[in-house]
């Protein structure tokens, strides 16, 4: 009976399951890791491990879990990513100034192309996979958004998410350790830092561990990063990669 009910209400069951994963991840982040690694990153890692239990559709291959693929499908994902643009305040980009805007463009471009070069060295050669991995080097949102827009395979999309999550973890852990060496002690360098790294959860966690006062400056530029990445990775950058590698 329960199987029938859950089977007929898969999406609602997915809301429940994902909520539980999120709750446990944030609790783990707060109580055990002392917020060193953001709860969002832990939740994604747990999700990737759970996907390992299934086959080509991850947990969605397991009984009861079909709804997870509906919730995590590209339609709802892109819809919610677009909604995050509501938090972007255009008047604030002026505060970021020339160097803040420059850091955004440099941040997206160098992450993308460095990701592509490393992927090339590790044996990937088709333009769609290269572009998706490069986009994943931007953030764990830009990667899958780019990948599904271009029709990349599920394992390449999973890799791009994992790449973005590694970036969050490295940023969260190493920012406080390296902050004084890279002059990360004033609003201007915090804005540049946010523009170069771009992954909002990592930037916020890293700066919070460095100096709480710098967080709003870092996230100010970082909020523009995902939009910029979703705009130029699957368009201009894909066009360039396609030109050279197809």
């Amino acid at each position: 009976m329960i199987e029938k009910i859950i089977g007929a209400n898969g999406l609602v069951f997915a809301f429940f399951i994902v909520g539980v994963i999120m709750y446990l991840s944030y609790l783990f982040s707060k109580k055990i890791l002392n917020n060193i690694i953001p709860g969002a990153a832990i939740a994604i890692i747990i999700a990737l491990f759970l996907a390992f239990l299934g086959e080509e559709k991850g947990v969605a291959n397991l009984p009861y879990m079909g709804g997870v693929a509906v919730l995590g499908g590209s339609m709802l994902r892109d819809f919610s990513v677009v909604a995050t643009a509501m938090g972007v305040d255009v008047s604030k980009i002026k505060q970021a100034g020339f160097s803040g805007i420059l850091s955004l463009f440099i941040g997206v471009s160098f992450s993308f192309f460095l990701g592509v070069v490393i992927a090339l060295f590790m044996g990937y050669s088709d333009p769609i996979s290269l572009t998706t991995i490069g986009a994943g080097a931007c953030t764990y949102i830009v990667g899958p958004v780019t990948g599904s827009a271009l029709g990349a395979s599920s394992e390449i999309i999973a890799l791009s998410v994992a790449t973005g999550v590694i970036k969050v973890i490295v940023t969260s852990i190493f920012t406080p350790l390296i902050a004084s060496r890279i002059g990360l002690n004033n609003p201007n360098s915090a804005m540049i830092f946010g523009g170069l790294i771009g992954t909002t959860s990592g930037v916020a966690a890293g700066l919070a561990a460095t100096d709480e006062k710098l967080v709003p400056y870092g996230t100010l530029t970082a909020t523009f990063y995902t939009g910029l990445g979703c705009l130029i990775c699957p368009s201009l950058f894909y066009f360039l990669i396609d030109l050279f590698f197809s």
Binding site: V18, G19, M22, A40, I44, A47, A51, F52, G54, E55, E56, V59, A60, V68, A69, G72, L76, R77, S80, A83, T84, A85, M86, V88, V90, G97, F98, S99, G100, F110, L114, G115, I118, A119, M122, I141, V145, A149, E155, I157, A158, V161, A162, T163, G164, V165, I166, I169, V170, T171, F174, G183, L184, I192, L196, I197, C230, L231, P234, S235
Partner: protein, 125 residues
């Protein structure tokens, strides 16, 4: 009403997807070329326009804000439904790219900060 916001969001989303796919076919690439980016910029543009005109949409906004808070849970669901078994072989790639890109980004901070300082100094002059 919340639905006004959700409807506006849907409009921006579809506009972006159509624009992206159209541009893709124009330059001979299949797929949606930058659609989500176009959608986001349209939403930012409309939002700031309404703000400038002092049109109060705070109630409709809630419909959009709800979806924006859902993006992490949706990304979690997405991650859980990928072909991770097949991706495991590429795990080293994810770690290498993630680590190297982040470390180089750290190193670029002082370089660009210097430009920022010049910028500030010029403004003071």
């Amino acid at each position: 009403m919340n639905i006004y916001g959700v409807s506006l969001l849907a409009f921006c989303f579809l506009f972006g997807k159509i624009t992206g796919t159209f541009i893709g076919s124009l330059i001979g690439l299949s797929g949606d070329i930058g659609g989500v980016g176009f959608s986001m910029f349209l939403l930012v543009f409309i939002n700031s326009y309404l703000k400038k005109k002092n049109i109060n949409i705070s109630k409709s906004k809630n419909g959009i804000l709800f979806w924006s808070t859902m993006y992490i849970p949706i990304v979690v669901a997405m991650s859980a439904s990928q072909n991770v078994k097949a991706a495991l072989l590429g795990g080293w790639l994810a770690i290498t790219v993630g680590v190297i890109v982040t470390i180089i980004a750290f190193m670029l901070v002082p370089l660009i900060s210097r430009i920022g300082k010049k910028d500030l100094n010029n403004k003071i002059k």
